[in-house]
Amino acid sequence: MPRGKVSVHEERCKGCGLCIEACPQGVLSFSGDFNSSGYDYVTVDNPEDCVGCGFCGKVCPDVALTVYKKQKEGV
């Protein structure tokens, strides 16, 4: 099970690519598809590699991402 999970709000994404650039794990890529505003939105390409660091969310100028992170076990 991956350590993190990103959910993309496809309609909010403007396809700027900054999250793809910021992700240390190569999780995100362009979908090659277009949302109703005509932007090539981002999609989660390698969900297994996500570590839930939140970098993608922090750099996104359109607040189009929600990030989840696995809780530490055995606290």
């Binding site: 993190g4 999970k5 750099v59 100028p61 359109d62 607040v63």
Partner: protein, 257 residues
């Protein structure tokens, strides 16, 4: 993805990043990769974290961020061009119980509003000012502003800005730091995660200075305007790091807090 599938995928996980409550659901009107969006979100997150959503008022400029009232879930006043620090001062003096911030572009803060911006800083009014420096007039199509770099091409300086014609870029934060009025003046950037985290800290400090009644705080933020710089968003980030930052160095310039 359906709600059910998302719930299944995130079982045992904690939400670590989401839209702040001080923003409503309205989409920003900024271009792809515009740093105004990052900065708006950082201000909203800070308002959430300080628990001041119900008693904070924003004042917005004429410029690309003219529509702050559309997406901030707080009251926002949109004064005449350049009068943002002055109106913020008025709100704060009439209602000292409110937290008041001014949000201004370089055209608004350093061109048409230089007089208002300077006197608000000199009075040391107890307000928080955000100065978004993207080195040109974004909204109107990319004309030269007082902060445009030397040799930078804009629609009004097609061969690049020359000092002999327009003077060198004006350094508002350094200039205002020579005054006795201000409490805190810092310059930040948001082109990578480290800088974004530092900017958030500066924004929080600037709000705290106000809530503690300590006076005027200014956070200048170097901001990308990919569309008018003729660059893709990744290149625009690089330009700040490699070019803009050399003229406008990052860090605290004045701290009397």
């Amino acid at each position: 993805m359906s709600k059910e599938a998302l719930a299944e995928d995130t079982a045992g996980m904690e939400k670590v990043f989401d839209r702040p409550k001080s923003l409503n659901n309205q989409q920003f009107s900024y271009c792809p990769g515009c740093h105004h969006g990052v900065i708006n979100r950082l201000i909203a997150e800070t308002i959430d974290e300080l628990g001041i959503q119900d008693n904070t008022v924003g004042t917005a400029p004429v410029g690309c961020s003219v529509f702050l009232y559309k997406w901030f879930d707080i009251d926002v006043i949109q004064p005449a061009h350049g009068r943002v620090s002055a109106v913020a001062t008025g709100v704060k003096r009439a209602r000292p119980d409110l937290n008041v911030f001014a949000y201004q572009g370089d055209g608004d803060f350093a061109s048409i509003g230089t007089n208002n911006s300077t006197h608000a800083a000199n009075r040391g009014d107890n307000i928080t000012v955000f100065f978004i420096n993207n080195t040109l007039y974004g909204m109107t199509g990319g004309e030269m502003s007082p902060t445009t770099l030397l040799n930078q091409k804009t629609t009004t300086t097609p061969k690049g800005r020359k000092a002999k014609d327009f003077g060198p870029p004006i350094k508002m934060s350094e200039m205002l730091s020579a005054l006795d009025g201000p409490t805190y003046i810092t310059r930040q950037a948001v082109y990578d995660v480290k800088r974004i985290d530092q900017t958030k800290k500066a924004i929080k400090k600037a709000f705290r200075i106000q809530t503690e009644g300590k006076g005027y705080a200014l956070v200048e933020i170097l901001s990308a305007c990919p569309i008018n710089w003729g660059m893709d968003p990744v290149k625009a980030n690089e330009r700040i790091k490699e070019e803009v930052e050399n003229v406008y160095p990052l860090g605290d310039i004045l701290d009397r807090s």
